[in-house]
């Protein structure tokens, strides 16, 4: 299996980490991850979403943006945007991630590429989703994270501890 299974784990409150092995050189994959016209070609899922516009100012501090449309064009287009933090071709690119319609602080996405004999292991890490983003104003977060991990860890139940008297 190439990509990890799409079900959440308690660790997701810290970071989502997934890997895939691709039979292509790192430099080519890096280009696909960091140039607008290539992003629009691959960043989609049939019947789910597609990228209709992308822009990349590929340098530390440079802005990136992509506009994503839902399945069949029935859902409104939403924008994801951020700023490149680290640009180290062809091994690493890291940028902030903020969805326009989400009332939530920005998070951090890192792509890491490791090539061996023309095959590249691609790892994506989406971090600062919950607790890390709040490190600076951490009070009260342990409870939220604990309840959340309980819920994520229990399959599909709801956290019961702390749910009242």
């Amino acid at each position: 299996m190439n990509a990890t299974a799409p079900h959440a784990s308690p660790q997701a409150t810290q970071a989502i980490v997934q890997e895939v092995t691709i039979h292509a050189p790192a430099a080519e994959i890096f280009r696909a991850l960091t140039t607008a016209d290539e992003l629009m070609r691959w960043w989609a899922a049939e019947g789910q979403f597609r990228t209709v516009y992308a822009a990349c100012d590929l340098r530390p501090g440079g802005a990136w943006l992509m506009m994503v449309e839902g399945a069949c064009g029935t859902e409104p287009v939403h924008t994801v945007r951020g700023v490149y933090r680290r640009v180290e071709p062809p091994h690493l690119v890291e940028f902030t991630w903020k969805r326009d319609r989400e009332d939530w602080p920005e998070s951090l996405v890192r792509w890491e590429l490791e090539e061996r004999d023309g095959t590249t292991t691609v790892r994506v890490t989406h971090s600062e989703l919950i607790s890390e983003a709040m490190r600076a104003r951490n009070n009260g977060w342990p409870l939220i994270v604990r309840l959340l991990e309980k819920w994520l860890g229990s399959g599909n139940g709801s956290p019961s501890a702390g749910a009242g008297s």
């Binding site: 039979h23 292509a24 080519e28 696909a32 994506v124 989406h126 104003r137 749910a163 009242g164």
Partner: protein, 108 residues
């Protein structure tokens, strides 16, 4: 109808504030009156009430009248909106990696 996105944003907004997280923490051991909760803070009681209303709006705090007092209890269930948001992101990245792999390997 309230959309999933709106529900999520209500919960996000509710827990994004340290005072409101503190209120939830205070309630984790059991119900308390609005006055009892306000006693934990230096801000005015109306200000605390406003936070409680927002938590109530997000479904995280249930209220019931007990005599002249309003008793608040914690309801953790709406937090599943954040859990679902994380699950959606996990599925999104999994799909994205599969899509990247297919694109790169077909190109060659």
């Amino acid at each position: 109808m309230v959309s999933i996105q709106q529900q999520r944003n209500a919960v996000f907004k509710a827990v994004a504030d340290p005072t409101r997280r503190e209120i939830l923490s205070i309630l984790r051991h059991g119900g308390q009156t609005v006055g009892g909760i306000a006693g934990h803070f230096r801000m005015s009681r109306p200000a605390v009430s406003k936070h409680i209303r927002l938590l109530h709006g997000a479904g995280l705090v249930a209220t019931r009248a007990e005599g002249t007092a309003t008793v608040c209890t914690l309801n953790a269930r709406p937090l599943r909106a954040i859990g679902e948001w994380l699950r959606d992101y996990e599925a999104f990245w999994s799909t994205s990696l599969a899509s990247l792999k297919q694109y790169m390997e077909e190109k060659r």
